[in-house]
Symmetry: C2
Subunit: 252 residues, 2 copies
């Protein structure tokens, strides 16, 4: 989606030993924004992005126009069920349909051997993993760890909207995730670890959700869950931030 | 779907000058049958099919198991809107979702340069054309003309269910299509040609639909329509038959 930061450039660096040619797509995809979301004000700076990519060793930049991705009469949508029901999917009902469809199209247009996806958008990563497996798309997904500022704040194009006071409060999101990790690591039950995580959130950080869940199903933990992830979405002022952390594996 | 007849073998023959290697998939796809449809009694004879394919010059036969195409936890569906709203889509609401999804999977698994589809399933052909274009699938579709018995009956795996009396009545479907073609060719308006087509159907041939429509949108003709097709679905006894014919082009 462009507005590149260090977190994005890390994708290129992780790809270097994996492939011969690195291609970056930049496409601010309207079909994953709902009416009233921040499509219009989503930051765009293609010239700066292109310069950063060239410096970092990107071989080609793919910037399709809206009309070539979504031409008149476009009619085909990819719906991934289950893993899209909750969390980001609950508050943004058509979001993942737009994501899955555009990612499938970009894969088919570029035909990469390897595709990176940021772990920061944990549910998006899971949705695309599910789609690639289900539709037998011939691409390997390389997840890229979340890039954090030294104080722990996850890099996001939306961080620029935070005042310095809001930014200070937002740091409690990362602290909460760390508290949850340490608690699970110490053998504390996930439900209890989740309470500790919530308590860590600062005043003015209003969670949409703040849970420890089953990563495979992107659903509440059940008796079969072994792969857990703590996920948080919260509003800080008018800015909505998301972050997450994989939890230590559960042995059953 | 197997149960091969001359109409299927024609696909291989048309492909011969186009490609180096010809691969046939046989998969009786459960997700395109609704509850109560003829999935269980759909004819299957893989040994006979394999022999016919080998004789005709097929290089490989791909017969995936149900569990490898639709494994536990499968969650991703491709929905093509518009062209699926009417005709076969109206009476079988999940049919084309199953068709589009399995065809996308088979394309991704086999990665053909060229894929054949029978013109007999005219709406299915249009749905897959739409999906391939919309999802940027890198495959060329080669439509295969409907194979007919000398008396005009379109070949179908379901013809075996017809008694000889039913078969005689069913010939009026082809006659109706021909009447429509000749009428349009003579400059008669499509609405009038449609009436003549309906009148041609024999007693005991009960149409689900019998219309001249816009092939591009698979919808009723409007002022922009140039590519017309006559489509018929009808029950003859307990057997449901479909057939169609492209009409002469309309110049506007």
């Amino acid at each position: 989606m462009g507005a590149l930061h260090e977190g994005h450039l890390e994708h290129l660096r992780l790809l270097e030993p994996e492939v011969d040619v690195r291609i970056c797509s930049i496409f601010v995809n309207p079909t994953q924004f709902a009416v009233g979301e921040d499509l219009q004000k989503y930051p765009r700076d293609l010239q700066r992005d292109a310069a950063l990519l060239a410096e970092t060793g990107c071989d080609a930049l793919f910037t399709p126009g809206e009309g070539s991705i979504w031409p008149d009469g476009y009619a085909t949508w990819i719906q991934v069920s289950g893993v899209t029901d909750r969390y980001e999917g609950a508050s943004r009902p058509t979001h993942f349909r737009g994501v899955a469809t555009v990612v499938c199209k970009l894969i088919n247009l570029v035909e990469p051997d390897v595709m990176t996806l940021g772990e920061k958008d944990a549910q998006q990563l899971r949705v695309v993993e599910r789609m690639v497996e289900d539709l037998n798309l011939r691409v390997r997904i390389l997840p890229v760890p979340t890039h954090r500022d030294p104080d722990g704040l996850a890099m996001s194009s939306r961080n620029r909207y935070l005042s310095s006071d809001e930014r200070e409060r937002a740091l409690s999101i990362y602290r909460g995730l760390t508290v949850a990790y340490d608690a699970i690591n110490a053998g504390i039950e996930p439900t209890e670890a989740e309470v500790l995580m919530r308590e860590e959130l600062a005043d003015g950080v209003v969670p949409d959700y703040c849970e420890i869940i089953d990563r495979e199903r992107f659903a509440p933990i059940d008796a079969t869950s072994t792969d857990l992830i703590a996920v948080i979405a919260a509003r800080v002022g008018t800015t909505r931030l998301i972050d997450n952390m994989r939890m230590p594996p559960v042995h059953r």
